[in-house]
């Protein structure tokens, strides 16, 4: 009897073990068979100077499951269009219970942002391509599973208040929201009409700002604002990103005037933060002088821009803006078409006559240095340009 039960138990264990084993095998097989889905990031993504894992927690993010994690916003700046290309106004808070709609003056705000925080000050995390809808990331519902990001209401208010808290005027809800009782079609239309064609006044900058500093070997720093913007092509945001709106607005407020010398006593990096991003290799005396510095003159570099080059933007020749890279000053280093037979001399305002047409460039322009004076004396005695001309002058 005892033996029988023992055999039965052994058989039972063996059978159940077999069944369990059988069940496990197909599972592992299925796991091996599943194909890895590889999704190529779109063009916009490829331009991002950031690793995939910085924003996505999984290996293969898809549109359905982007597995996004919180990522640093400043590394994703990708808005590349002008404020004027955006809408003039945007209507917000369509389903408000306590407060009505907001007719938001988008264009005016965008123009202000253009000279300070930039579009991405509000449209943060905007990956390359069209502007993302706020509600793609910020959910309408306050009660939600994913609490890593604020909900839509909160994110709007946080954006507005990041500047409007500094505002000494009314900050009541009704400053932006229409009261529910007055939320009629006419009132909304009225607010919209007020914004049509309205722009932020153009920012008038000082062409030159002279800073007085405590630096002994050069008290004065001349900052040629115009040059940095018009010549060097810096955007406003490059330097003014951290400016508060109250730098321009509300400057007449009576309480808590911002201190004039905000930078006093601050560490070197803070005081010079706007300059050292580009001028990191320059000595102090590049900017600190005892007299007011003149405008930048290209002549001092050994290459006179003259009438031919003065209207060119810097980056036409200097491809890397940050570096005053020494270019070869000879004409042919850039003008590869200044070659006999290829060059149409009419461009200079002088059509060569048939005799001179056949000559090499070097015959009149020694070493093909076209900046130097034309030489006639190699062939002609007592001839000199422009008294005598090798052809006919024409207006260009």
């Amino acid at each position: 009897m005892k033996n029988k039960t023992l055999i039965f138990v052994v058989i039972f264990i063996a059978v159940s073990g077999f069944i369990i084993g059988q069940n496990q095998i197909p599972k592992s097989k299925a796991g091996n068979k599943s194909k890895e889905i590889i999704v190529k990031p779109n063009d916009g993504h490829q331009r991002l100077p950031i690793e995939c894992k910085r924003c996505h927690s999984c290996d293969f993010p898809t549109k359905k499951n982007p597995c996004l994690i919180a990522c640093p916003r400043n590394e994703l700046i990708t808005i590349e269009h002008k404020p004027e290309e955006g809408p003039e106004y945007v209507i917000l808070n369509n389903n408000g219970k306590r407060y009505g709609k907001v007719v938001f003056s988008h264009l005016i705000h965008a123009q202000m942002a253009d000279i300070s925080i930039g579009c991405d000050g509000c449209h943060h995390y905007n990956i390359a391509g069209p502007i993302e809808k706020c509600e793609n990331c910020h959910k309408q519902e306050r009660k939600r599973k994913d609490i890593s990001r604020p909900d839509l209401t909160a994110s709007f208010h946080r954006q507005c208040y990041s500047c409007h808290r500094d505002w000494s005027h009314s900050n009541d809800c009704s400053y932006c929201h229409l009261p529910i009782a007055k939320e009629t079609k006419e009132n909304i239309q009225k607010k919209m009409n007020n914004l049509i064609g309205k722009t932020h006044p153009e920012y008038v900058s000082q062409p030159k700002i002279i800073y007085e500093t405590n630096f002994e070997n050069g008290r004065l720093v001349t900052f040629n604002h115009d040059e940095h913007v018009k010549l060097f092509g810096l955007t406003c945001k490059t330097c003014h990103q951290n400016d508060r709106c109250t730098k321009c607005h509300d400057v007449d407020r009576t309480y808590d005037k911002p201190r004039k010398h905000d930078l006093k006593g601050q560490p070197f990096e803070v005081v010079h933060q706007n300059c050292i991003t580009c001028h990191k290799d320059n000595s102090c005396n590049k900017c600190h002088m005892n007299e007011v510095k003149d405008k930048f003159d290209h002549k001092l570099t050994g290459f006179d821009l003259g009438k031919h080059h003065s209207k060119l933007p810097c980056d036409k020749c200097h491809t890397v803006m940050n570096l005053p890279n020494k270019l070869n000053p000879s004409c042919i280093s850039c003008h590869t078409d200044f070659v006999t037979g290829k060059f149409n001399h009419k461009r200079t305002g002088l059509i060569l006559d048939d005799t001179h047409k056949e000559l090499d460039c070097e015959s009149c322009h020694p070493s093909r240095n076209f900046a130097q004076k034309t030489v006639c004396s190699d062939c002609h005695d007592n001839y000199s340009y422009p008294k005598q001309k090798p052809g006919k002058s024409v207006t260009k």
């Binding site: 640093p72 306050r142 009660k143 609490i147 209401t153 909160a154 808290r165 500094d166 000494s168 009541d172």
Partner: protein, 298 residues
């Protein structure tokens, strides 16, 4: 003979008392799993608050306290005085100076923090306070005898008493909107906040969120989560650009507030120890005196 008897009696009494004390030392104040992983919490991000005080209004509305008009709460003159939650306002917002930007002062909301090891629950001699599995610490009016021990015990000085009511005065404190959350709604203050200063979620996720925010924006936040460990941890936790005791919150020890006092108190009162001890003491004295008088009589 007498001596031995007396000594034996005290020995036994002491043994009973100590056994009772040890056996109840680790007992929780409530039988439910009050420290479950699902218990809820709130993260208060004080860097976001604008001091609109809508939370104060919503709280009163939710608790049938006269609230008045919402727009009246935009009055900023109340910030001149530091306020604590009281029987007419279970949550209050206070203003503090922001040295970095004087135009943007710091606002800090105060209410019951719903401790993981609540001192009020421990101090209440009739069990009118209980900590629930969803994290809330709630007062039950049907049990309260009005001793106000809870007010003294609370490390945050939150519970208040309706002194002005002659009949049926109540202990008033934030109840984590337990009636609302039972119905799947959010606490009233969390729901109304225009800035979502408060984020409602499971406590462990809340702590994780706080850590994430601090590591993402180290310049914006002081690396400290107030309430993560204070008095053994609270359901409501705070982050800000400074440590919270600079904003009117008490600086507290990390060990649970009830702690030692609770274990002694509960130890002594458990298993009818005090009446048994008292009656056996009296019985002992009676027995001894009777025996002595018997001997004298002999």
């Amino acid at each position: 003979m007498n001596k031995i008897n007396r000594r034996n009696f005290f020995k036994k009494a002491a043994a009973i008392a100590s056994v009772a004390a040890v056996s109840t030392q680790n007992a929780d104040s409530a039988s439910t799993n009050i420290l479950s992983d699902e218990r809820m919490g709130v993260l208060v991000d004080t860097t976001v608050c604008i001091g609109c005080r809508h939370c104060e209004w919503a709280c009163k509305e939710a608790h049938n306290i006269p609230a008045g008009q919402l727009d009246d709460y935009h009055d900023r003159s109340v910030f001149k005085k530091f306020r604590r939650p009281d029987e007419t306002a279970l949550t209050v917002v206070n203003e503090f100076e922001n040295q970095k930007n004087k135009l943007s002062p710091i606002f800090v909301k105060a209410q019951c923090n719903h401790c993981d090891h609540p001192a009020c629950v421990s101090a209440c001699i009739v069990g009118a306070f209980s900590k629930f599995e969803n994290g809330s610490v709630v007062w039950d009016g049907s049990k309260c005898i009005g001793c106000r021990y809870c007010m003294v015990a609370c490390p945050f000085q939150v519970p208040t008493f309706e002194y002005n009511k002659a009949i049926e005065p109540r202990i008033m404190k934030c109840d984590f909107c337990i009636e609302r959350t039972k119905q799947g709604m959010l606490p009233a203050c969390v729901e109304i906040c225009p800035m979502e200063v408060m984020t409602y979620g499971p406590r462990n996720e809340i702590i994780q969120l706080a850590k994430e925010r601090i590591s993402l924006y180290p310049n914006r936040y002081e690396n400290y989560i107030y309430g993560e460990k204070e008095v053994g941890g609270t359901s409501w936790v705070y982050i800000g650009n400074k440590k919270m005791w600079e904003f009117g919150m008490p600086k507290l020890k990390l060990s649970p507030a009830p702690g030692v006092s609770e274990s002694i108190q509960h130890g002594i009162f458990a298993y009818f120890v005090p009446p048994i001890a008292l009656y056996s003491l009296l019985g002992g004295i009676m027995w001894l005196t009777k025996k002595r008088s018997d001997l004298e009589e002999e």
